[in-house]
Assembly symmetry: C2
DNA sequence: CTGATTTATTAACTTATGTAAAGAATTTTA
DNA sequence: TAAAATTCTTTACATAAGTTAATAAATCAG
């Protein structure tokens, strides 16, 4: 059995996987046949705290934010963009109710599979075991770097770093300011002041 | 070939591994023969920023802190205690010069192996591939929870949570206050005030 | 044991951020 | 296109945290 490249159903996700591991046609097809698609309109939620995360999503287009909610107060801690995985990986790993919320910032086209599908693939194909390791390593690296930035940089330094990388990725104008403030660990008012300070110097 | 339990050279590390995966005698021995021991006196460094991390350490006894240094200013972001891995995992993964410093808080007895040894074991034994995945997942989970605490809790709430868990683990009195303050993202002066606020309420 | 060093607390002052509320600007949608 | 809703900025005020320096307490080393 062979896979014609023109027939690959989810080329974006297929390329994403290939950045981690090389897959034979069979290995890819074993996952591909479990993939489903879903649309998520702006402002709708992919997951809410208290729910049990069971799926890993892949963002084909659109964007989303991850936030925690306590006493009506929301703290946005992460953004997701097209061509990346989205979901509550921690919740999948621990089988504990989710502590996070993921909400679409723009209309989203998603693709997803059950986390259980992945764990089954671990047993069936060594290559998915490698993928699982590299994925966890990748997620670890992202958090490690983010944590270091939070603890070693001032809010102003974090903002400058954020706009610098987000301009390169052309995502700045896709995220409301208030969520960026929260991501930086400050209030919208404070971010507004920082922006003015930078502008008038 | 069989391993008598009384002959296991590093029982603490062996138990640690077993929390992640089941190992046959052969699988264990392949790693055991690569293990080395090392002592690290209080205040000495296990790694300094700029150096290339190549080893994974395991703390048999003692404690250490991880800190970042910028302009003579130190920010402590993590503590290590006996029966846990220590090292610059990020540096091992990326092969980039380390951005962190790890310093002994007490005299340490360590055991270590080359990161390269682990990657070779990935190829030789599927079980180590699983270990590598579970280790990365474990590290990811720790960071994910820590990041959420930093972004959603106030310094005072973080301190209360910290003493609560550290009293259970009997580690509070082993860490100088100034490093705890840094870990919480505040100055020693500020922590002192928080402590007084809590005491007089 | 004692002097020296390190660590923790306290005080005084400065500064940045949080809060609340109002107004301006922008975006949405009917 | 106009009205409504949302988002951003600004102001005023309160508060918590940073900075510096002095003192007190605890720890270390000879």
């Amino acid at each position: 059995m062979s896979v014609n490249k023109d027939e690959i159903k989810f080329p974006l996700f297929h390329s994403y996987l290939k950045r981690f591991v090389d897959l034979t046609d069979n290995e890819w097809l074993a996952l591909e046949e479990q993939l489903r698609v879903r649309k998520l309109p702006k402002k709708q939620h992919l997951i809410r705290q208290g729910e049990q995360a069971k799926e890993i999503f892949f963002l084909i287009s659109g964007s989303a934010r991850l936030y925690y909610e306590k006493d009506g107060d929301e703290k946005t801690t992460y953004f997701f963009f097209e061509n990346n995985l989205v979901g509550d990986y921690l919740g999948c790993l621990t089988s504990q109710p989710s502590t996070i919320n993921i909400q679409a910032l723009e209309d989203c086209e998603l693709m997803y599979f059950k986390y259980e599908t992945l764990t089954k693939l671990y047993e069936q194909f060594p290559v998915y075991q490698i993928f699982g390791r590299k994925l966890a390593e990748y997620l670890f690296m992202g958090l490690d770097i983010r944590l270091a930035e939070l603890l070693t940089l001032t809010p102003e330094e974090r903002y400058l770093k954020f706009i610098n990388t987000s301009i390169k990725r052309k995502i700045l104008e896709r995220i409301p300011q208030q969520y960026i403030a929260s991501y930086l660990g400050i209030t919208p008012v404070s971010l507004s002041r920082i922006r003015r300070r930078i502008a008038t110097s």
